[in-house]
Symmetry: C2
Subunit: 408 residues, 2 copies
């Protein structure tokens, strides 16, 4: 058995068309009201790709989520294309919405020349509004005609709702003397218009990955990246991350090269996920929250999410206030093992609480550190040796203004 002699991950510019054998397009179909706004994305693999996906755990699942699940179950995980519209979530739209999502897949399949079940569908935008099917139908042939290996950035823009910037990422992984690429795009939850809470991610690779490994690696990586970010603790009706592997690089992933693939995928997904946080509504700071000393990894994650979602913590960071008391109080109410006498709080490199007592003399230094755009905070629960890291943003008055804006 030859183990890989070298594993390198190069972060490169690029996105969903960096991997060989993938083409993409992004066009204006007229689903968004704004003239010329890109709102229909198509990602096509030249050959059938192994496909894996992770969907929202929300029980109010949108029609495209239900249809994509059906399709993956039907094919056992094979896809040729992903079709995505923004401007309308096709959620809470009943049987008519399901029929629309199926039509969206079927018409894409007719253009691509594959079975309808080999098309995955995704929608993001306002909840409870029907898709404008005439515009979608008219747009699909345009999107298909525009497919090219240099149009990944257009696809990245076409999936945006109110994201302040497009998010793309790609890596090339070298294993021994061969290499493959992984690239993707994502959109976050910019809710300047109401109900646009969807987080979508689409990742392609030209490695060949057996279905069982593709499922495993996607779940593992999503847990460390997309599932480790939070802007406001919400989880939408349409969230999904899809991963297509077409094998065009000639590199086949197996148990020996699994870690190299996972590292590459993690790098791509983490960059996309952090882009979502940086683009969070009203966000001015990216905050890395690390919990150490937890009794179990699950408790570490629970405490880290509790801190990352705490309004008091997020507003304190926004105000540049090194308020360790709020970190202690949130840790204590998180419902996990916590020992105040052994707990520790640091903001950046600065220790503020340890051995049951504050180090308030360090507060001015910590306040100065909090002026940075990228902030790290860490809490040791004093209850074990498990850790977890999650990412969030601060909470600004702009978040409230954005989300309180009057819709009707």
């Amino acid at each position: 058995m030859t183990l890989p002699t070298l594993q390198t991950v190069d972060v490169a510019a690029g996105g969903v068309t960096t991997a060989r054998g993938f083409r993409a397009a992004g066009i204006h179909a007229g689903i968004k009201a704004k003239a010329g706004a890109l709102d229909l994305a198509l990602i096509v693999s030249d050959t059938p790709a192994t496909a894996a996906a992770v969907f929202t755990t929300n029980k109010a699942q949108a029609a495209p989520v239900l249809v994509s699940r059906e399709h993956l179950a039907h094919t056992g995980g094979v896809a040729r294309a992903v079709v995505v519209n923004s401007g309308c979530a096709n959620a809470c739209t009943g049987d008519a919405g399901l029929a629309d999502a199926r039509t969206m897949a079927a018409e894409t399949a007719a253009l691509v020349g594959c079975a309808a079940e080999e098309v995955l569908v995704s929608s993001t935008g306002v909840i409870g509004v029907a898709l404008k099917m005439d515009r979608l139908r008219a747009g699909l042939p345009q999107a298909h005609a525009a497919l090219a290996t240099d149009q990944g950035d257009k696809a990245a823009r076409a999936i945006m709702t109110t994201d302040p910037f497009p998010k793309e990422s790609a890596v090339t992984v070298t294993v021994g003397d061969r290499s493959f690429s992984i690239g993707g795009t994502a959109k976050g939850s910019g809710m300047i218009e109401p109900n646009m809470a969807t987080m979508l991610g689409f990742v392609t690779t030209d490695a060949a990955v057996p279905k069982v490994l593709l499922d495993r690696v996607l779940r593992e990586v999503v847990d460390d990246t997309f599932n480790a970010i939070t802007v406001d603790g919400e989880c939408s009706t349409n969230d999904c991350v899809m991963l297509l592997a077409n094998g065009a690089s000639g590199v086949a992933i197996d148990e020996r090269t699994y870690d190299a693939f996972a590292d590459g995928l993690r790098a791509v997904c983490l960059r996309l996920a952090l882009g979502i946080v940086r683009g969070g509504e009203g966000a001015t700071k990216l905050v890395t929250v690390t919990v150490n000393g937890a009794a179990t990894p699950a408790e570490a994650r629970i405490a880290a999410k509790a801190i990352a979602n705490s309004l008091l913590v997020k507003t304190a960071i926004h105000g540049g206030d090194p308020n360790w008391g709020r970190l202690v109080a949130v840790s204590g109410r998180a419902g996990v093992a916590f020992d105040l006498s052994r707990a520790k709080v640091t903001i950046g490199p600065i220790l503020l609480f340890k051995d049951g007592r504050p180090y308030d003399e360090a507060a001015p230094e910590a306040a100065s550190y909090l002026k940075n755009d990228d902030i790290s905070i860490a809490v040791d629960l004093g209850a074990g040796d498990a850790s977890s890291t999650v990412w969030t943003c601060d909470l600004s008055a702009d978040y409230v203004k954005i989300n309180a804006e009057y819709r009707t």
Copy 2:
């Protein structure tokens, strides 16, 4: 067995001294920096009272919480006095803080003429700062000298941190031809200064209530009132509700009159709890959130709390936006049984979503309703017949400004 022939609950003006045999005081001891600000409250029963308390579930428990627990365990639930300071939480203060809380009880006991264990202590204010014991010691005799049956309002003011107004409530309950009173005061989590997240409630009654019933009724009522409110989903190191019953009315509560007592206590506690919500930071609206159609009462409460704590829901209400999509999305992610096809959303009396489809034609009427100061929203999960009601406030940009203010 004679059942009570009549049970009436009269809502009256009053507070902790409405019940016979209780005196109170509120003075300025100098724990708060501001000159003349009341910061030390004393509530004394003329005779030993049966005592019950519910404390914070936060694992970072403040010294006064630990000491009051000890005292209740030691006496088996008997108390003569409650002493409370604002301006300092005496939390995260280690062994020195514990000693200070014990001293606070002992010196009060010496003045009142009872055992130290018959004094319950409570503190609220900044975390991680030592109590100014010299000022507290000097203040206690003043507070004791000021004790009177008409000073309940002073005590209500002395427990405030940054609450915008004091909260008092009292009722007289008539059972047959006899009557007893229940009255109380509470403070909420006004966090204009950092770390002041404490919710405190103190309730007195001149009914005689056996310890086992007092414990039962307090837990039952707190669950429906103080535990059913949320401003920002936080839970502090110092939260507690204490209930003292001294029997001065001559009415003894037993299983037959339990419900009358519970109704009276519920009326007092609900009014105090809603006062805390109305006084929440930046709050402009009181929001009643009812979840129906849940599989179990516990799931109903979980869903109601998820809705009440959702930033998207709270900002939509602040903006007057009848955004039923956010209510559906939060219900779907709350981790409880939820059937989208049977779910129902109403804002006030206005139906906005039912049978899997929106009623957007009613949106303007709902937007108009949302201009009220008191708002009701209801979600039917379509999964059973259990219900729960909780109360919250909207989320305004002022909340962020208040909590982001720079401390150091």
